[in-house]
């Protein structure tokens, strides 16, 4: 069972639900942010995109104090799988489930477009286990604060433990400054925790999960984790 957390201001919750329930055909339910318990049958929690609590103060800063986050933190500590997409990634950073922080995009603009990202360290986390190493995929981004920042020590840690999972790149897979949409350090688009059970990413795989919408590059992410859960 997948659970998609709904905060006041979430707007990708139904897209994530649809991708899990109808596109890959796995059971899914919503979890309201005021809930305090994650039931035993839930194996993967999705923190969806949106503008939780209006993004007031800082994106993700107030969602971190929603009661469900305490439960999600315990769930992650016990090895439960958590993926945060866009605003969900920002919430994971603010909650300390992932290291670093988001700055405003370097051009100060909200960016809404398709970008290319390269999958790295794909075996680090079951979310990307069925992607081939170095595969270039096209996914949409839609954010104003996606300029990933962490101090030099944290970046070294991320590298040492193979935690950098997605980098912005061009269509040929070159990770360059021209292919960096928002100024993120090392073109970072997604990272995992040390254990590999928590993934945060700015691009939206749920918006690119079926051919009828023009792109299915994101579907493998949901499929990978579903297969992993079923195999466990």
């Amino acid at each position: 069972m997948f659970a998609i957390v709904v905060f006041p201001g979430s707007n990708c919750d139904h897209d994530c639900y649809h991708a899990v329930k109808h596109v890959i055909g796995r059971p899914a339910r919503f979890l309201w942010h005021k809930e305090t318990v994650i039931d035993k049958d839930i194996k993967c929690v999705v923190l969806p995109g949106g503008f939780s609590h209006g993004d007031y103060l800082r994106a993700g800063a107030l969602a971190r104090f929603s009661p469900i986050i305490k439960a999600v933190t315990d769930f992650a500590k016990d090895g439960g799988f958590v993926v945060g997409i866009c605003n969900g990634f920002q919430i994971l950073l603010e909650s300390g489930l992932l290291p670093g922080a988001m700055l405003r995009n370097r051009a100060l603009k909200f960016i809404c477009k398709d970008v290319f990202v390269r999958a790295a360290n794909v075996k680090k986390t079951p979310f990307t286990a069925t992607y081939t190493e170095g595969r270039v995929i096209r996914l949409p981004i839609a954010h104003a604060e996606g300029n990933y920042y962490a101090d030099a020590g944290t970046i070294d840690e991320l590298k040492t433990h193979n935690q950098i999972i997605f980098n912005y790149c061009d269509k040929d897979g070159n990770i360059s400054d021209e292919a960096n949409p928002n100024g993120a350090l090392l073109n970072i688009a997604g990272i995992s925790n040390k254990q590999g059970n928590v993934l945060g990413m700015m691009p939206h795989p749920e918006r690119a999960s079926e051919e009828i919408l023009g792109n299915s590059d994101g579907r493998a992410l949901f499929q990978s984790i579903a297969q992993h859960i079923e195999g466990a």
């Binding site: 800063a61 107030l62 922080a101 920042y149 101090d151």
Partner: protein, 81 residues
């Protein structure tokens, strides 16, 4: 009692907003501005009965837990009775 909190990005963190404002000032013909950092100013109205030392501790705690993201930001505050 009033607490005034000043939040800004750490000096080693690039401030895109500050850069844009800096460019704007130059375009308007203001010279001699070497750098601009844009931050936040937060004002809290506090219970007047609270001892000032306790208020200081509380405000610091609030900054660390919510008002400031210490990964990228630093802060200073002052409390006036």
């Amino acid at each position: 009692m009033k607490a005034e909190i000043f939040v800004k990005l750490k000096s080693e963190v690039l401030d895109p907003q500050g850069k844009a404002v800096s460019g704007g000032l130059k375009n308007l013909g203001f010279e001699g501005v070497k750098d601009v950092r844009v931050g936040k100013y937060i004002v809290l109205s506090l219970d007047d009965k609270m001892p000032i030392e306790e208020a200081g501790k509380k405000v610091q705690d609030m900054c660390e837990k919510l008002l400031v993201n210490t990964v990228i930001e630093e802060y200073a505050f002052r409390i006036e009775g």
